[in-house]
């Protein structure tokens, strides 16, 4: 349990902190202030809103789940082993962070599209194609959001005391058992923090989704896509959709309270 330090905030820190906070909060306030409150109810119950929200939440959660299953092992390899080429692996894993999402979408096409390197085989064997499906949305979101999880978990693993793993070894635990029963529980706050970041990034993903998965209401039209399209024809609808996304995101982040992220924040 940590108590914040006593004493006020020094001025050289307080002023930039206040400015930064305003900078982040004012645009969000703008959304709230300019929302069409009078017909909010009617707009919220339009069918497109519900399906876009549901799709966004489901795909973001699936993407995060996949990212955890694949990303935690990657983080473990990066933090705990000496395999050669680790730095190359780390660079590759972080590429989606710096790549413009649209480029990511194009790249996914080139591999998993109907004419793609692997997609072509899939199509020939099963007749199944990935683009323009909800699966494509999940894959696009996983692609852009997984690096957040990997970096967060690698950081947590490095900060964790590796000597506990020595102790577990002397108690008869092989590397897999040690990972399951000692390492993972010890870094679970870091994993949770990474998962939250990953989920948030997946929820807001636009460029890769629209390029690779396309846009179709109910199947691939996520909230960000809805907002983008609405903005061009009906800005007030766009504001409503943005507000919904904002409320959902804030609620989720509040639910994952500081206590659960506490150790990761302190690490």
């Amino acid at each position: 349990m940590s108590r914040p330090r006593q004493g006020g905030v020094p001025l050289p820190l307080l002023v930039p902190a206040a400015i930064g906070t305003l900078f982040l909060v004012l645009p969000l306030l703008g959304l709230v202030i300019r929302a069409p409150w009078s017909d909010l109810g009617a707009r919220l119950t339009e069918p497109g809103v519900g399906s876009a929200l549901r799709l966004s939440l489901v795909t973001a959660t699936l993407a995060t789940a996949i990212a955890m299953v694949l990303g935690v092992p990657i983080a473990w390899v990066l933090a705990r082993t000496d395999v050669r080429g680790r730095s190359v692996l780390r660079a590759l894993v972080t590429v989606p962070l710096v790549l413009p999402p649209v480029v990511g979408g194009v790249a996914l096409f080139l591999v998993l599209g109907r004419q793609g390197i692997l997609g072509r085989l899939l199509y020939e064997w099963t007749g199944f194609t990935i683009p323009f499906t909800t699966l494509a949305v999940v894959l696009a979101e996983t692609f852009v959001a997984m690096p957040f999880l990997v970096i967060s978990v690698e950081g947590a693993l490095r900060a964790a005391d590796a000597r506990f793993e020595d102790a577990a070894a002397t108690l008869g635990a092989d590397r897999w058992t040690t990972f399951r029963r000692v390492t993972l529980p010890l870094v679970s706050p870091g994993v949770a923090a990474g998962a939250v970041l990953c989920w948030a990034r997946a929820l807001g993903e636009f460029g890769a989704t629209i390029t690779f998965a396309g846009n179709f209401p109910g199947t691939t039209q996520t909230m960000p896509l809805s907002v983008y399209l609405a903005l061009q024809s009906d800005p007030e609808a766009a504001i409503v959709l943005s507000l919904v996304l904002l409320v959902v995101s804030v609620a989720t982040l509040l639910l994952l309270r500081e206590r659960w992220l506490g150790r990761a924040a302190a690490a």
Binding site: F132, G214, Q232
Partner: protein
């Protein structure tokens, strides 16, 4: 020594800013009906134009730059809806060319035009299929085939509105797999071979050359897109703006348009 360097920074910034803004009233405007603009336009010309005008306008822009070596022509090609929204939100454009009347009305409705818009071209929809027509598409009725992978433009984009109109006119219950945000994105999917067919403009089919085959259909005449153009009241470079519009309306301009597959108004 250090203070001088510090003072130089803001001065340099100011200089850069003024250079970016168009110079007003520098060149004597020579209103000509011909394609030559006199050669003394300077500064930057910013043209917001529908994506389908990309190739034609880029060529005309090059010509204008050749005739006016001190002029820099910049284009913003995108969906007309996005452009109209940007202009009404205050984006600094000199010229606006829309892919349909509806989006131009957004701009004129806000009173942002310098003079009444004129229609410079017309465009009709055409079915685009990948080279070799792998989906064996023959006509518009194939768009009701759920087994094919099909793309249209989103309804809020002129190309998409036109698609809806032709489907209605033909009595077809269309089953697209994706509604792209602009026509170039839809064409892209065809070029990549990721969709069996897309409804794009005749000009797009022409522009894609060998990679794409076009299939005309009679219902296309039910939704003719007119392309109005206008200069904007708040244009930073009104002389260059007028010169560009004259160029588009001139013989050279018309030749470029028809060469790309547009119809000229009244033909």
């Amino acid at each position: 020594m250090r203070t001088r360097a510090l003072l130089a920074l803001p001065a340099a910034a100011l200089l850069a800013l003024t250079a970016c803004g168009g110079s007003s009233g520098d060149a004597a405007s020579r209103g000509t009906a011909g394609s030559s603009s006199g050669g003394d336009l300077t500064g930057t010309l910013t043209v917001f134009a529908a994506a389908s005008l990309t190739d034609v306008f880029t060529g005309l822009g090059d010509q204008l730059e050749k005739e006016n070596p001190q002029l820099d022509v910049r284009f913003n090609f995108a969906g007309s809806d996005a452009l109209a929204t940007q202009i009404t939100q205050g984006a600094p454009a000199d010229v606006f060319a829309s892919a349909n009347d509806k989006q131009m009305k957004v701009v004129t409705g806000a009173g942002l035009q310098a003079a009444d818009p004129t229609v410079v071209a017309e465009n009709v929809l055409e079915i685009a299929v990948p080279h070799g027509n792998p989906g064996h598409v023959t006509g518009l009725e194939d768009f009701a085939n759920a087994d094919l992978t099909l793309a249209v433009c989103a309804p809020s984009v002129p190309c998409g509105a036109a698609a809806r109109a032709v489907f209605a006119a033909a009595g077809i219950d269309a089953r697209p797999d994706t509604e792209e945000t602009d026509v170039k994105a839809a064409l892209n999917k065809v070029q990549l071979g990721e969709v069996d067919a897309a409804l794009v403009y005749a000009t797009d089919v022409r522009a894609a050359g060998d990679r794409v085959e076009g299939i005309e259909f009679p219902e296309a005449d039910e939704a003719v897109n007119q392309y109005p153009i206008c200069t904007l009241k708040a244009a930073p470079n009104p002389d260059a703006a007028q010169a560009f519009v004259h160029l588009v309306n001139s013989d050279a301009g018309r030749k470029a348009l028809t060469g790309a597959g547009f119809r000229t108004p009244g033909s």
